[in-house]
Subunit: 98 residues, 2 copies
């Protein structure tokens, strides 16, 4: 127990990474933001990752400490320089139709 | 356990900070209102932060004790002197259509 409390070794967590048009989504394990950035550029063929944002509301994930608060299986969108986050096309209209 | 109960060390919590036109949103960790103010001006390029308000209804967050009541991942809008909070463009019309 002591080791668990004091060691604080970073643990790999699963994330779900999508691209800017949400045409591809992949599960990727990562223990740190930089680790995830590296794996994402390989896995989703983004040569120059400019940002990683929360798929749900476009919040930029730029710091390691904020990254560590994300729950398992958070959906993140990877953006290159020319790309911007857009709201999920179904989220607003469908809510209205309830 | 005693240390945990008596220490009361301020704990960093995640917040989501957006700018006045909601074009940028970033995840930022902060343990106190002043801490957040400093990080926000760096991270969102606001040279002179005049106010931090709740994104949902424009409530000004000016005191440390009110700030401490905010739940994790509260969305806050940063304003400089010339800027004012405005309602979210989608929230009112869509809610009315229910």
């Amino acid at each position: 127990t002591q080791q668990l409390l004091s060691g604080r070794a970073p643990q790999s967590k699963p994330f779900r990474i999508t691209n800017a048009d949400r045409s591809v989504k992949k599960g990727i394990m990562a223990e740190a933001l930089e680790d995830l950035m590296n794996k994402v550029s390989d896995s989703l063929n983004v040569s120059c990752v400019s940002a990683l944002v929360l798929d749900e509301d476009g919040t930029g994930v730029e710091t390691e400490d904020f990254f560590q608060t994300l729950p398992e299986n958070t959906v993140l969108m990877v953006l290159d320089k020319a790309q911007k986050w857009t709201p999920h096309p179904y989220s607003i209209p469908y809510r209205n139709q309830l």
